[in-house]
């Protein structure tokens, strides 16, 4: 899953999103209320990740973090993880909310 030179923004965004979510401190990517912070292309879109290629390549990741996580360190971890997706790109990280991690999990797969 290395970055081929001709990869489209939406492919790159997908890789960035995957790697971001693999971090334990990242609970969700945040595409905004209307999903306006997304990268589009090829009939798909990646919410919460903006990728701009060109002369000044830039990646913006909007995420909801786990409460208690030191956020500047989390952002640095994220930059370490995704910088080789689009080498030389500036990686901006926006922390849009924090939540308790434990409170997130039980809601999935509840028996009811």
């Amino acid at each position: 899953m290395s970055s081929s030179p001709g990869a489209s923004p939406v492919q790159l965004a997908g890789q960035v999103g995957e790697r971001a979510l693999a971090l334990t401190g990242v609970l969700e990517l945040d595409g905004g209320v209307l999903g306006e912070f997304s990268t589009y292309g090829n009939g798909q879109r990646v919410r919460g990740v903006l990728v701009r290629i060109g002369a000044a390549p830039r990646v913006t990741v909007r995420l909801i973090a786990a409460l208690g996580e030191p956020l500047p360190a989390l952002a640095e971890q994220l930059r370490d993880r995704v910088e080789d997706v689009l080498p030389g790109a500036r990686i901006d990280v926006a922390i849009t909310d924090v939540r308790r991690q434990a409170a997130e999990r039980p809601s999935t797969g509840g028996p009811s």
């Binding site: 409460l67 956020l71 500047p72």
Partner: protein
Amino acid sequence: MTDTTSTSTSSGGSGAAGESSPAQRGARLQTDRGVTTIDDIVVAKVAALAAREVDGVAQLGGSVSGALGSLFGRMRDEGHQTTGVGVEVGERQAAVDLTMTAMYPASIPQVSDSVRQNVIDRVESLTGLEVVEVNIGVMDLQFPGDENDEEQEREERQERERERERQEYLQQPSRVE
């Protein structure tokens, strides 16, 4: 009954030895590789939790806003609401305004000092923002008896709720013997 105390702390209080200064921590939000931004709600949640941790804080907000806040908070299933907390967040710095109900007979200056220190510590260590100001308004006092009543009442209400759900579940026609 409003007692407002405020302090500006440019140094972020007595930082522990060996820790980076708030200015340096703030700088970590602006790196060569990109910028990290922290939304208001993040700072508000961290500040609210830090304030509530302090002994002598009955709740955030006054008694009315506290009651409404906990009601709405529960309705939205929001574990850590930000009732009574206002923040201003810049690129490197943040200011926090909060209102609270103090526990009688705790010393209000001592409680507010502890709240201020805890809010500064938490917000600075978790968000990397330098906290330049924590303004605290003590809006009301709560007396030990009140608190017990309220807490008990809340527990009883939750217990009744659970019991009712249990009954409803048991009475579902799908349960055939």
